[in-house]
Symmetry: none
Subunit: 121 residues, 2 copies
DNA sequence: TGTGTATGAATGAAGG
DNA sequence: CCTTCATTCATACACA
């Protein structure tokens, strides 16, 4: 969490603890609509945030990822509307027999192995 | 990752949680140069990994896809001055951490993968 | 010192 | 392949 007061940088911690200024700037950008910054944007942002404390590109990347996800999560929790998100998972449930498995993946070409063509039986 | 001592198996999670042994084997193959396993290879690998826990072909497929992509990102040191579509970076410490004591390589199967992926007994 | 919470980090799974 | 989403693990900190 690294809340105010004790600003990050000096912590010998293994993980990034953004300073108040950094968080402020990030939130500013977030409010501005930024959600999935490109690599270039991340680079720029990182450079800018560096003026306020140690920070790496990955920190910025994760910050946006997490902030967006949790923003959504909070909203979801607040409005528990009907479960409209039916997940239609059909488990392959395989007992994954070891040796002579039934034809699982029924195409054999040396072609691309894309998930879309998986055939679960 | 699914550390917490309790490896995968009993998790009621819907997603695959590779065991330490499985990860180790996958890492080994990756280090051996395997990047885009063919459907056949995936099938073999899956069969082999099944000796160490539940796993499906798509898990293996995704593992290689993700590992390759993130490995690449990890290695990125710098970004071009121009915001092209460069990659996002992650930290550089990759070394796979054994989440458990690991008593691997004990499988005695005479199985072979690809020439690059030699797994001696 | 234990417990809950906020959040950094990681990665499986898709989507495009 | 690259990008994004979802879920989880890990950790710092507030509070008791």
């Amino acid at each position: 969490m690294c809340p105010a007061g004790t600003s990050a940088s000096l912590s010998r911690s293994s993980r990034w603890c953004p300073t108040a200024e950094q968080v402020m700037l990030l939130e500013e950008m977030y409010k501005g609509g930024l959600r999935n910054p490109s690599a270039g944007q991340i680079h720029q942002i990182t450079a800018h945030l560096s003026n306020f404390g140690k920070v790496q590109g990955k920190n910025v990347f994760y910050w946006f990822q997490n902030h967006k996800a949790r923003d959504k999560q909070r909203l979801k929790k607040k409005l528990p509307l009907k479960p409209q998100h039916q997940q239609i998972f059909f488990h392959a449930t395989s007992s994954f027999s070891p040796q002579r498995p039934v034809s699982c993946i029924s195409f054999a070409g040396p072609l691309i192995f894309t998930p879309q063509v998986y055939i679960y039986i």
